[in-house]
Symmetry: C2
Subunit: 454 residues, 2 copies
């Protein structure tokens, strides 16, 4: 009888694991269970779908269940794994359509249940859904079409909340974005985040910070009417979007006895192996990653990590020996007129980790001053005061600004100092920068900041 690999969760991580396992071991029996109606979709694309930039939701689906089945993976949709018995090596599975339960055995397991929205402690919030999943986004888009209204409130000013707010502005709504924190995008330091706030206000979003939502007030039809805040009173709300954070889906793993890490996600070693459970792997948004700068366990929901970790799990589940190298928190997004990116540690994160840093920020132009279309770019570097080692970077700016973050990510990865960075032979032409790239100018200032502090 062939060995059997079971995959719990049919999104990026799970299906990457399944696909690579399929290629490596043609004899392996592979079962994948997905409680939703879609496999392998791009959650990152949902705001663009809501905005109408993308018309067809199918274009967000990287690979359909049928395609996986054709390659010999038994994908069961609308099927939820409700129990994992690690001793008996048996899953309890619920067919959500037929409302039946059955058991399936496994030899090896990849746990890839993803993340879910954290229900906020707000009265009435259960009346509005999150739009983290494709099916929820479809429902919300239909709702906006059927009940156009004029006012929308987005609760939570993370990059996702900002993207959602922008999407609703594009659909013609008056949008208020509310957050308890005193800045948008807490993955950035406040000085850099303030540029994003201005950009959001520039497209017409009303941004209310340090504002606590107390209640989502719904009408008799169960639809939202207003959002009640402590500081700003009542906000009219024909539509409400929750963007108050996500958490790894770990309930099933906990019940099965799999260990969780300090981030609350499933703990794994660098081979994505769960501790103390032979042949059991975890990958993607539900799993913990090691942050290379702090050594701590972190839980960063990102498609790239999910794909890479899924691949690592799939390889190691089929006799391979590869490691996931950890993360440094690189991220990029486009928000209103700005591109935004970050990598490594922010000043705040460094302080939280007890790491002493100094920083330098420069403002420059995205093209040579005389070249048409030159726009602002801000670059912030966070470095160690003693040796100017680069520990973090943040970039905000117009078209062409943000993918520079990958240069900083590479320099952080290799342990480069700002002094060494200044030596780099980076490209120059007037359509892309002044004669010194903004990164070189930021490195120069960071060297000075470290000299002053050291």
């Amino acid at each position: 009888m062939p060995e059997r690999l079971a995959v719990v969760g049919g999104d990026a991580a799970g299906m990457s694991a399944a696909a690579v396992a399929r290629r490596r071991d043609p004899d392996l029996e592979i079962l994948a269970f997905e409680r939703g109606p879609y496999t392998s979709y791009s959650a990152c694309g949902i705001p663009y779908y809501l905005a109408g930039d993308i018309e067809n939701v199918d274009s967000l689906i990287a690979r359909s269940p049928e395609e996986f089945r054709e390659s010999g993976i038994d994908v069961r949709m609308l099927t939820e794994v409700v129990g994992i018995d690690l001793d008996r090596r048996v899953l309890t599975v619920r067919d959500l359509d037929a409302r039946t339960e059955y058991e399936e055995g496994f030899d090896r397991l990849v746990y890839a249940t993803g993340a879910e929205a954290i229900p906020p402690p707000i009265e009435g919030a259960d009346a509005v859904g999150s739009v983290l999943k494709v099916d929820a986004a479809e429902r919300f888009r239909a709702e906006v079409s059927h009940h156009p209204g004029t006012n929308a409130v987005v609760i939570g000013a993370s990059y996702l909340g900002l993207e959602m707010a922008e999407a609703l502005v594009k659909r013609g709504l008056d949008v208020v974005l509310v957050d308890q924190a005193d800045q948008v995008m807490t993955t950035l330091d406040p000085d850099m985040a303030s540029h994003i706030k201005h950009a959001a206000e520039g497209v017409g979003i009303r941004v209310l910070l340090s504002t606590t939502v107390e209640e989502v007030v719904t009408g008799e039809d169960g639809r939202p009417q207003m959002v009640r805040t402590a500081e700003e009173g009542d906000l009219k709300a024909d539509h409400v979007v929750l963007s108050t954070g996500v958490r790894p889906v770990v309930g099933l793993a906990e019940e099965a006895g799999l260990e969780l890490g300090e981030s609350g996600a499933v703990r794994t070693d660098d081979h994505q192996r769960c501790s103390g459970a032979d042949g059991v792997f975890a990958a993607g948004d539900c799993a913990e990653s090691r942050h290379r700068l702090t050594g701590r366990g972190v839980n960063i929901q990102l498609g790239t990590h999910a794909n890479k970790q899924g691949k690592v799990a799939g390889i190691n589940a089929t006799g391979g020996d590869v490691a996931f190298p950890g993360v440094i928190g690189t991220a990029v997004s486009r928000i209103c007129k700005y591109e935004v990116a970050r990598t490594g540690l922010s000043e705040r994160q460094a302080a939280e980790a007890g790491i002493d840093v100094v920083s330098a920020t420069i403002k420059d132009r995205t093209r040579a001053g005389y070249y048409p279309g030159a726009g602002p770019i801000w670059v912030k570097l966070v470095v160690a005061p003693d040796n100017a080692r680069i520990l973090g970077g943040q970039i905000v700016g117009e078209e062409g600004a943000a993918k520079r973050i990958d240069v900083l990510a590479t320099s952080i990865w290799t342990g480069m100092s700002a002094n060494e960075f200044e030596d780099l032979d980076l490209s120059y032409a007037p359509p892309f920068s002044g004669v010194y790239d903004p990164l070189l100018r930021a490195a120069h200032q960071a060297v000075k900041a470290a000299e002053k502090a050291g």
Copy 2:
């Protein structure tokens, strides 16, 4: 009596040296001689000026002679240094306006004469100028305005020739671009260069490769009429632009007894010191740089290197001790609809240097497939067959493609292998790439290519 620093050549390298020397040593007497009418201008901006993207030539001038004079640098314009006596420490200087010659002593010297167009061995070519300098570009733009004509021929399909050809198309001319080589942009390998040729043809440029220009035929008014080629017959030419390469201006240095390097440019050590001549430095387009991958002396004309080397010369000429770290040949440009970039060694350069390499090329999209505006991007990686160390990269693609070259430049600089590169935590969001950045996909293919070869 104060010490005196003389600077020969008032463009990027020379004036960077002068400016940094001024800041470091307020007592130093600083003289700078420039034979042309402009200091510190952006030669890279000239094609955009010709195209009309930039209306005013003054915007190409980073800093005027007056500004330098206000900071206490005695800048003498239209003044050519015609002799350097290293024993007597005396320059012979010609005032081009007054047609007089005089002598000026110096204690320390920065030689920064720049580069000049190589006159091609083409009959009649002396009737047409190059447009490398701002004043020549002004004359040419005036000429195109006064004698609009309909046909232009650009001789030489380097990136500069391509930019000039595109500029003339924008001015409404029918443009033929001719080159002896069998590809455009020989800084790229032929496979990557072919995309640029297609893009040039796409905007209406007729590209004639493997075509030898025999004569520029001029009329009685001395203006060009046609360009005679061996393979393609006569090409109508109301305007002719020469773009047949540049060379370092070294005549004066040679006469003074300064040593030249293997590239034909002035040889310096990593402190920009000329060999055997105490207190004499060279910097910028006239000076040789060390290529970090081959160890060879190279002469790469680029504003960034000129600025950096000038700064190094200025610091060391005022008692400092800093090194220019060498180059790896990073370059970027925007040509027709594509961004184009390269760094490190091309396959051809590796072969010329006797370095064994393998390569991998991927085609991808500049954004997630479903995201509006996704365009093509090609990435080529050149790696060592034994350990997959990254030795070179080339990128061609639409908006957002090319500045990725800096990530490759950084990885080459630090000696990273393609395997290590695959581990990098690079940024991802749908407006910027698919879930695996094109660079990661290229690295993956390069690993495979090295495994196959190794």
